[in-house]
C-alpha cells in the first residue's frame, strides 16, 4: 500500500479552502446553468426539456425574432460601454497616478479625493447623479444655463452613464497605479534624467514598462467589470430611453427575474454572453502579454 505523502499533499491542502468555494459557488452554478439552458423552467413549475430552442430563439432561428433582436441589441450596448469606458478607466487613472505618485505633498489627499466615490454603492451614486442631471431642475443644467436632456434622450443618456461611471470608477485603478509607480526604482528615474530623458520619455520608457503587470491586471479586471455593467443603466436610466441603454446583464436579469421568470432562456443568454466575454478577455490578455514580453 502506498504511503500517504504529506509533503505532496500540502499544496493541495493550501488550495482546498479556495477550491471548496470555487466549486460550490463557481462550478456547480455553471453546470446548473448549462443544464437549465436546455429547459423551459420558471422555477415554480416542473422543468420541461426544451432542447436547443432557447439558443435558437437567441439566434432568431425560431419565434418572432424579438428575443434575438432585444438580446443582440443589449449585447451591442454592452460592447459599446466596454469599448468606450474601459480605455477611459485605464488612461485617466494612469495619468492621475503619474501626476501625484511622486508628489508626496498632494498624494494622500488626491488618493482619498479620487477614491472616495468608489466606496459608494452604485445605487447611491445613481440617485445622486439623477438629481444632478435632471433636465429641468438639475444643478448641471443650471450651471450650463441650458436644458440638456441628460437622462431622457440619446446620445445624452449614454454620455451621462459614461461620465458617471468614470467619476465612480476612476479611483480604484488609480490607487493601484500609484502603488505600482511608487515602487519603480528611483535610480532608474534618476539615471534617465541624467541621460536627458524628458517627462514624456520617462513615462513611456521607464514607468510604463515597469508597471506592465499592474496594467495587464487592471485592463482585464476593468474589461470584465465593464461587461458586467448593470447598476448604472438599471438605476440611472432604467435601460431607456426606448431600451437604448439596456445592457446584456439587464436583459439576462429581466428574463430570469422579470414577470415570467424564464430561467432557461436567461441561462442560454448568460452562456452566450459569457462566451463573448471570455473570448474578449482572452484576446485582450494575449495582446497584453505579448506586448509585455516584447
Amino acid at each position: 500500500m502506498k504511503r500517504f505523502n504529506l509533503k505532496k499533499a500540502v499544496p493541495y491542502l493550501f488550495l482546498s479552502p479556495y477550491m471548496v468555494f470555487f466549486i460550490v459557488f463557481g462550478m456547480v452554478p455553471l453546470v446548473l446553468c448549462i443544464v437549465i439552458s436546455f429547459t423551459k423552467w420558471d422555477y415554480a413549475s416542473p422543468m420541461e426539456w426544451y432542447g436547443l430552442n432557447n439558443f435558437k430563439l437567441l439566434f432568431g432561428a425560431i419565434g418572432s425574432g424579438k428575443v434575438s433582436k432585444d438580446f443582440w441589441q443589449a449585447v451591442l450596448h454592452t460592447l459599446l460601454f466596454v469599448v468606450v469606458e474601459t480605455p477611459i478607466l485605464i488612461i485617466i487613472p494612469l495619468l492621475l497616478a503619474t501626476l501625484i505618485a511622486r508628489c508626496k505633498a498632494v498624494r494622500s489627499f488626491s488618493m482619498g479625493f479620487f477614491y472616495f466615490p468608489t466606496i459608494l454603492s452604485i445605487t447611491t451614486v445613481c440617485i445622486l447623479w439623477n438629481f444632478l442631471l435632471d433636465t429641468n431642475s438639475g444643478i448641471i443644467n443650471h450651471l450650463l444655463g441650458d436644458t440638456v436632456p441628460w437622462l431622457t434622450q440619446m446620445p445624452y443618456a449614454w454620455m451621462s452613464i459614461f461620465f458617471m461611471s468614470t467619476w465612480w470608477g476612476v479611483g480604484g485603478n488609480m490607487i493601484l497605479y500609484v502603488a505600482a509607480i511608487v515602487n519603480v526604482p528611483q535610480e532608474l528615474i534618476e539615471a534617465s534624467k541624467i541621460d536627458g530623458a524628458g517627462a514624456f520619455k520617462r513615462f513611456f520608457i521607464i514607468i510604463l514598462p515597469s508597471i506592465k503587470t499592474t496594467l495587464i491586471y487592471t485592463i482585464i479586471t476593468t474589461t470584465i467589470g465593464s461587461f458586467n455593467m448593470l447598476g448604472q443603466a438599471q438605476v440611472l436610466t432604467a435601460g431607456g430611453p426606448n431600451n437604448g441603454t439596456r445592457t446584456a446583464m439587464m436583459i439576462i436579469y429581466d428574463t430570469a427575474f422579470g414577470g415570467s421568470n424564464n430561467f432557461g432562456r436567461a441561462c442560454a443568454m448568460a452562456l452566450v454572453f459569457g462566451a463573448i466575454m471570455l473570448a474578449f478577455t482572452i484576446a485582450s490578455y494575449r495582446i497584453q502579454v505579448r506586448n509585455a514580453e516584447d
Binding site: 493550501f14 420558471d42 418572432s64 425574432g65 429641468n136 437622462l151 430611453p241
Partner: protein, 433 residues
Amino acid sequence: MKKMNKILSVLLGFTTLLCVALVGCSGEEEPVGEKSSGNGFTVIRFWNGFTGKDGETMDRIVANFNEEMGEQYNMKVYVDKIPWDTLFTKITTTSSNLKAAPHIVAMSASRISNMQSRGILKELDGVEEYLGVSAQDYITAAWNGGVLSNGKRYGFPLDVHPTAMYYNKDLISEEEIPATWAQFTEICKAKTKDGVYGWAVPSMYSVTKDIFLNMLYTSGGRVFDSNDKAIFNSSVAVEKLTNIYDYIHGETPVSPKDVGAGGDFTLFTQGKSVFYFDGPWLINTFGLFDNPESNIGVAPCPDSIGDGQTNFAGSHQFTLMSNTVTNDNIKNLCYVFMKYVSEHSYDWALGGQVPALKSIHESENYKSLAALKPFTEMAYKATLGEIGYKYWYEGYLNVGVAVSNACSKISSPKDALDTGVRDFNDWLEDELL
C-alpha cells in the same frame, strides 16, 4: 520543518472542513407553519413590500395582532419586508424551500393571475364563510381583484390605491380645481407662465402610464379585449395618448420637455408646477395628515368619479402560498390574521392607503383624514384593468414603454402604441413556444 508542515496541514484540513460545514449548514430558522416544541405556538411568516411609512404601519399592526390575538390562537406572525422588485423573485425562488418560504404574501392584484398559473398560490377556499364576510363589505374593485376568471378566489382585499391629483394651493385656488380633463387642459394652459408649468409630465417609466390608463378606461377603452387580445392601440387609446403628448409637445405646451424619473416631483415641490399625480402614500411624504393647513391639496383625478366614469387603480391583496399552507389549521390561522388586519385597517389608512373594508370609511376617525377623501371617492369607482389575464402585467409594461416613447417624442402616439402592441404580441408568441 516536517513538524511545521504537519501543523499547517492540520490547520488547512480543519479550515477545509469548516468551509464545507459552513456551506452545508443553513442558519437557524424559526419553526415555520408548525408547532414549535420549544415555544408551543404556530409561526406564520408574512412577506410584503411595504418599505416606507406603510411598512412601519404594517409592522405595528402585526405587533398588535401578536399581542392581542397571539395567545388566543397560539400563533405568532413574523414579518419580512422585501422591496417589491425582489419580492416576486424571492417568492419564486423560495417556493421549494419550506424553511424559508412565507405563508402569507401581500401583493398587487395584478400579479395574482400569473402567480396562480404557476401553482405558487393557494386558493382561499371558504374564506368568506370562515370570516363571515361578503362582497358588500368591501370596495368592489378590491373584492373582485382577488377572484380569477375560473371563479376561484386567490386574493383577500387589503386596500385600493388610485392615482389622484395633488395641487399647489399657492398657485391655484380651490374653485379652479378641474373636474374634467378639458378643464384640466384649460387651467394648465392658463397657469403655464413665468417658469411655472401646469403639469410636469414625466416621460420615462412613470406615473404617466397610469394617467393614460385613467383616461383610457374612463373613455371606455381597454388594454385587452375579452379574448385577451392586446388592443391598447385602439383609436380611443391613440386619442388619449395624443392628449398627453400635446401637454408636452403641442402648440401650447403645459409641461417642460424631458422630465425624467422624479423630475415631476422635484418641480412640484419647488413650486414650479401646479399639479402632480401620485398615489395616497405621498400624503405622508407631504405631511398632509399632520398639517391640514399645508399649501398642498389633493383632489380626485379629472373624469374619475362622476356617473359612468372610472379610474385605473391598484390593489394590495393577501395571498397564501400553496407549498407552505398545507393544512386547514395553518390556513385558518392565516385567515384570522388577514381579517384582523382588514378590521384594523384604520391604522393602515394612516400609512397612506385606502382600506378595502367599507365600514372603516364610516368611522369618524377615518372621515377626519381629509387628504384620503379624494382617494376614497376614486376607490369606489376604480377598475384594476384586465388583471385576470395571465400576461396582464407584461401588457402593462408595454403600455408604459409606449407612453414613454410618445412623451419623449421618439415616436408619434399612434406609432408608439402600435409598436407596443406588436412588441407584446411578439413577446407572447415567443413565450408560448
